[in-house]
């Protein structure tokens, strides 16, 4: 056999080998994005029969239905500045402050009530963090655990210095004369009064009313109105924030240097004094914004009122209007311009009126 023939055949075999290897490389590159992991089959294990649990003797199933003549009452001694957490499934809730270092819980036509002490004071060993439960842990077993209280009337008497935290599905909640309050409802109205150290109230369907209170304040409702009157800051850094999506916000005698009020489609009414050095923001997409302020108000005004309008009974100095670019805005000064009033509305009407 000729060496030339051998060389030629070897050449052909080599070329075929290289070509096939590159084809394999190309196909493996495209298949790498779709790797298929092949799991080896394993024989299925025979299904185990579930074991039926043994029912304990004297076992009674839990019941959550309210009974007409059921009244539950319980009390516990606590520290003066106790922190109280309550979960309410349904019912009208009333929290009152009193001058005893004791929590008294009363539930009418509903579940039983009990307490769980989460933390005690280091010095006096009195409870400083208490959770109010919908059952009595001392009397009822763990299988009947229902942490949220439900009933027609739920009443709590707490020390004046207490901080109350309530979460509820549907309830009308009233809190009076406690140090601090935080309320979150899925639905229902909130009434808060005489709370000096701060308020946080949030309901997704209902009204929020706050009076004679102080400290940092956050009032929030999605579909409902907000009313706040005679509220003031406790410390310099306290802020007042209120927000509703489609309700009205009415504020009277608000004494906060940082005030932010926002209503998406509702109107805003502010009656009161503008504090010197304060920053006030009023925003409403489509609603009216009405301020009734004293004649000697001293504030700088920055207003963007889009397709709406701006009126002021108090004369503005250094007035600059921009109404040529489609969306209107203006800047001006009332008096000495010591505070800042910031207005934003797309289609609303901004009105500044003189207080009588």
């Amino acid at each position: 056999m000729n060496t030339g023939n051998i060389y030629g055949k070897f050449n052909k075999i080599l070329c075929l080998f290289l070509f096939s290897s590159f084809l394999i490389l190309a196909s493996s590159g495209s298949a790498s994005a779709q790797t298929v992991i092949v799991v080896p089959r394993s024989e299925p294990k025979p299904a185990e029969k579930p074991q039926t649990p043994k029912t304990p003797e004297n076992h009674k199933p839990p019941t959550y239905q309210t009974k007409i003549n059921t009244v539950s009452e319980k009390s516990i001694a606590v520290s003066e500045k106790v922190n109280i957490s309550v979960c309410v499934r349904a019912g009208e809730v009333k929290v009152n402050g009193w001058n005893r270092n004791e929590i008294r819980a009363f539930v009418s036509r509903g579940s039983s009530v009990g307490f769980s002490v989460l933390e005690k004071g280091k010095t006096d060993k009195k409870p400083v963090w208490v959770k109010v439960l919908g059952y009595d842990p001392a009397k009822e077993s763990e299988s009947r655990r229902e942490e949220c209280i439900s009933g027609k009337f739920i009443e709590l008497d707490v020390p004046f210095g207490a901080t109350v935290n309530i979460e509820s599905r549907e309830s009308k909640t009233t809190i009076d004369s406690v140090a601090k309050a935080s309320v979150k409802l899925l639905g229902g109205d909130i009434f808060l009064s005489n709370i000096p150290n701060g308020v946080e109230a949030r309901t997704y369907r209902g009204n929020v009313t706050v009076k004679n209170s102080g400290g940092s304040m956050t009032l929030d409702t999605t579909n409902g109105n907000i009313v706040a009157y005679d509220v003031s800051s406790d410390e310099i850094g306290d802020a007042f924030h209120s927000k509703t999506n489609s309700g009205e916000i009415t504020l009277q005698q608000i004494q906060y240097r940082e005030t932010k009020v926002n209503s998406n489609t509702g109107s805003i009414n502010f009656v009161g004094e503008i504090l010197n050095g304060g920053q006030y923001y009023f925003g409403s997409s489509n609603g009216l914004v009405t301020l009734v302020v004293p004649e000697n108000t001293s504030a700088k005004i920055v207003a963007i009122y889009g397709y709406g309008s701006f009126e002021s009974e108090n004369p503005l100095k250094n007035l600059k209007r921009d109404e040529n670019t489609g969306l209107k805005s203006l800047t001006g000064t009332l008096g000495g311009g010591e505070a800042l009033l910031n207005f934003k509305t797309v289609r609303g009407k901004i009105t500044i009126k003189k207080a009588d």
């Binding site: 489609s246 998406n264 489609t265 489509n286 963007i304 489609g326 934003k344 797309v346």
Partner: protein, 299 residues
């Protein structure tokens, strides 16, 4: 001896067979009669024998003759003429070096193709999440009267607008065209330029607006995904109705403000209100998300 003796060269030529027949006959007769010439011939033969034995390997190499070389070349030419195109192609493909080069090209092409497909998929996803108004904003801004950059007095200065990638590729491929296009660019740069243009400010405004709007849009899209999955479970019919109504009002406000911003990108009031409206929508969606969390915690 009657005849004169021959010289050494003639004797060597006699031994090499390079003389004519007559002279060979004469030398043969002379050698038979002349002892000195016979001795000289013997010595010359000894020398030749020694030389041939020493150079035997050199002389025995097979060196083709001129005729053989001519025959080989002729046959190669004939074969080359009679070769078909497929034969040539096959020869090219079977060439190891050309095959290696082709394989490199194939592998490179595969990588480029896969990378390009991946980029196309990413761009498609971005196009789906990013709303059209973002592109319209870009169009609006680019269509607005853009002034030339303030400093472009020399030919080597930067071009007012960067050339498109396609244009640049064409420029690189064709040197002559590149030079021609460069001349065109230089000529446009020589147009009069106002010193107090707001070109850079416009670009900064546009970039900031787009960045801010994009972050709002991203947040809203994330919240909407969460909310849309849960709103049927969380909201009763009346609450759902109120929610959808508020959402529709907010969306309508956003659309109107977007149009205003597109009309006049420099309108600060429009931008502020648009951001406000985005924030309102975020708050609305957030409230539903928080409601979901509260329901979960109460359960």
């Amino acid at each position: 001896m009657t005849e004169k003796c021959f010289d050494e060269g003639t004797i060597q030529a006699f031994l090499d067979g390079e003389l004519g027949l007559e002279l060979v006959d004469r030398i043969s007769h002379h050698i038979a009669l002349c002892d000195s010439c016979a001795l000289a011939v013997a010595e010359a033969e000894d020398q030749m024998e020694f030389a041939f034995s020493a150079l035997d390997t050199e002389f025995n190499t097979l060196v083709p003759t001129e005729r053989l070389w001519t025959k080989i070349n002729l046959s190669i030419e004939t074969e080359a003429k009679n070769k078909s195109i497929w034969h040539s192609l096959y020869a090219l493909l079977t060439n190891p070096s050309s095959l290696a080069f082709a394989s490199l090209v194939i592998v490179f092409g595969l990588f480029v193709g896969l990378y390009g497909l991946k980029n196309t998929a990413d761009n498609t996803m971005l196009a789906k999440t990013a709303p059209k108004p973002k592109l319209e904003n870009i169009t609006a801004i680019s269509n607005s009267p853009v002034k030339n950059p303030p400093s472009a007095s020399t030919a080597n200065d930067k071009i007012s607008q960067p050339p498109s990638p396609v244009l640049m590729a064409k420029q690189q491929n064709n040197a002559e065209d590149f030079r021609a296009r460069k001349v065109v660019y230089v000529e446009t740069e020589r147009s009069p330029i106002k010193p107090d243009s707001n070109y850079e400010t416009d670009i900064v405004y546009a970039t900031e607006n787009l960045a801010a709007e994009e972050s709002y849009i991203k947040t809203i899209s994330t919240l909407e995904k969460t909310v849309n999955n849960r709103k049927d479970e969380v909201l009763n019919p009346s609450a759902r109705f109120a929610f959808e109504k508020d959402l529709a009002v907010t969306d309508n406000t956003i659309e109107n403000l977007k149009k205003e911003v597109r009309k006049n990108p420099k309108n600060e009031a429009a931008r502020v209100l648009l951001r406000n409206s985005y924030q309102n929508k975020i708050d609305l969606l957030n409230s539903l998300a928080e409601k979901t969390e509260l329901m979960a915690s109460l359960n």
